[in-house]
C-alpha cells in the first residue's frame, strides 16, 4: 500500500462528518502473554486486551470515504452540471495552490 502524501486536511470539517458515522474512538487489540512456574509445573496463558484510542486522521478519511461510497453519496470526476449531482466528489486533476495573505492591503475587502 502506497503512503498518502496529504497536502491539506480540513480537520474541522472532517470531524464534523466523522462524528455522524462513527464513535470517536477505536480499539486496538493487544495480546498479553504471561508465564509462571508453580508447584504443579510451568503455566503459560494469553489474553487479548482492548485499548481505546482516537482515530487517526488517515483512518477518519478512509472511513468517511468508504461510508460515502457505500451509501452512494460520492461520485468520481467532475460534475457535468446538467443535473443535480451528489454533494461529494472525488477527483484527480492538475492543480495550483494559491495563497493570498489576509493582510494584503485592500484584500481585506476581498475577504480571503
Amino acid at each position: 500500500m502506497a503512503l498518502v502524501e496529504y497536502l491539506y486536511v480540513d480537520e474541522k470539517r472532517l470531524d464534523t462528518y466523522f462524528e455522524q458515522i462513527s464513535s470517536p474512538v477505536t480499539y486496538d487489540k493487544v495480546p498479553m502473554w504471561n508465564a509462571e512456574i508453580g508447584l504443579t509445573g510451568p503455566k503459560a496463558g494469553g489474553a487479548q486486551q482492548r485499548f481505546a484510542r482516537p482515530f487517526t486522521t488517515h483512518e477518519k478519511i478512509s472511513k468517511l470515504t468508504e461510508y460515502l461510497e457505500d451509501k452512494g453519496h460520492v461520485e468520481y470526476g467532475r460534475s457535468s452540471g446538467k443535473k443535480e449531482g451528489t454533494t461529494f466528489r472525488i477527483e484527480t486533476c492538475q492543480a495550483k495552490r494559491v495563497f493570498i495573505p489576509q493582510t494584503a492591503g485592500s484584500l481585506r475587502m476581498l475577504g480571503h
Binding site: 491539506y8 470539517r13 470515504t65 460520492v74 477527483e91 484527480t92 495550483k96 493570498i100 485592500s106 480571503h112
Partner: protein, 189 residues
C-alpha cells in the same frame, strides 16, 4: 484545473467566436476553497467569503448571473473591491476581450471611475482566462507549482461561467468545492 497553453491559445484566438464543437458545457475550473469562514454577502467592513470573492472576479455575484460584468461593477457596493495596483496591465492587455470598449462607450461614468473600472476589467478578464496567474499579481500572493492531486470535496456550487462564454465563446462549468482532503496523486496517469 489549470488550462494548458494550447487551450488558452485556442480560447484567445477565438476572440468570442463560439466553438462549433461546444454544444454542451465542458468541465471548467475547479476552485477548492480552503477558507470559508466569512459571509457570502457584502456588508461594510466585513470580509467576503472566498466563494463570493471568486464569483465576483468571474463576473457572477452570488446567484446573479449578469451577462455584462461591467454593469455589476457599477453597483455602489462594489466600489473599491479591486485594487488597480494588483493588475499587471501588460499581461492583462494581452488577453483583453474587448469589454473595455463597452466601458468607453458608457457616458455614465466620470473619467476617474472609468479608469478604475478599466483596470478592474483588465484584472477580471485576466482572471477569467487564467485565474492562478491573475491572482499571482496580488502583492504577497504565493503560487505553488502545478501538481497532480486527488481530492475529496463537498460541492458548494457549480454553474456556467457566463462571462467566459459571453466574451470568449468558451462554455465551461465552474465548480466550487470545500475540500475535506487534498493529497498528492501518486498513481501513474
Amino acid at each position: 484545473m489549470p488550462r494548458t497553453r494550447e487551450e488558452l491559445k485556442a480560447i484567445l484566438e477565438r476572440r468570442g467566436e463560439w466553438a462549433e464543437d461546444r454544444w454542451s458545457p465542458g468541465p471548467g475550473n475547479l476552485y477548492l476553497l480552503e477558507a470559508y469562514r466569512h459571509s457570502d454577502s457584502y456588508s461594510h467592513g466585513e470580509r467576503l467569503s472566498p466563494f463570493s470573492t471568486i464569483s465576483i472576479m468571474m463576473g457572477d455575484y452570488v446567484d446573479d448571473h449578469s451577462p455584462l460584468y461591467f454593469r455589476d461593477l457599477l453597483r455602489p457596493e462594489f466600489n473599491g473591491l479591486f485594487n488597480p495596483d494588483w493588475v499587471d496591465l501588460d499581461a492583462a492587455d494581452k488577453i483583453d476581450p474587448g469589454v473595455k470598449a463597452e466601458v468607453e462607450k458608457s457616458d455614465l461614468l466620470p473619467d476617474e471611475r472609468k479608469t478604475s473600472l478599466y483596470h478592474a476589467l483588465a484584472f477580471a478578464s485576466y482572471f477569467l482566462i487564467d485565474p492562478a496567474e491573475a491572482l499571482a499579481q496580488i502583492p504577497g500572493a504565493q503560487i505553488a507549482p502545478e501538481r497532480r492531486i486527488r481530492t475529496l470535496y463537498r460541492v458548494r456550487k457549480a454553474y456556467p461561467e457566463a462571462e467566459l462564454a459571453w466574451n470568449y465563446g468558451q462554455w465551461d462549468i465552474a465548480t466550487f468545492g470545500y475540500p475535506i482532503f487534498i493529497a498528492e496523486d501518486t498513481d501513474p496517469v
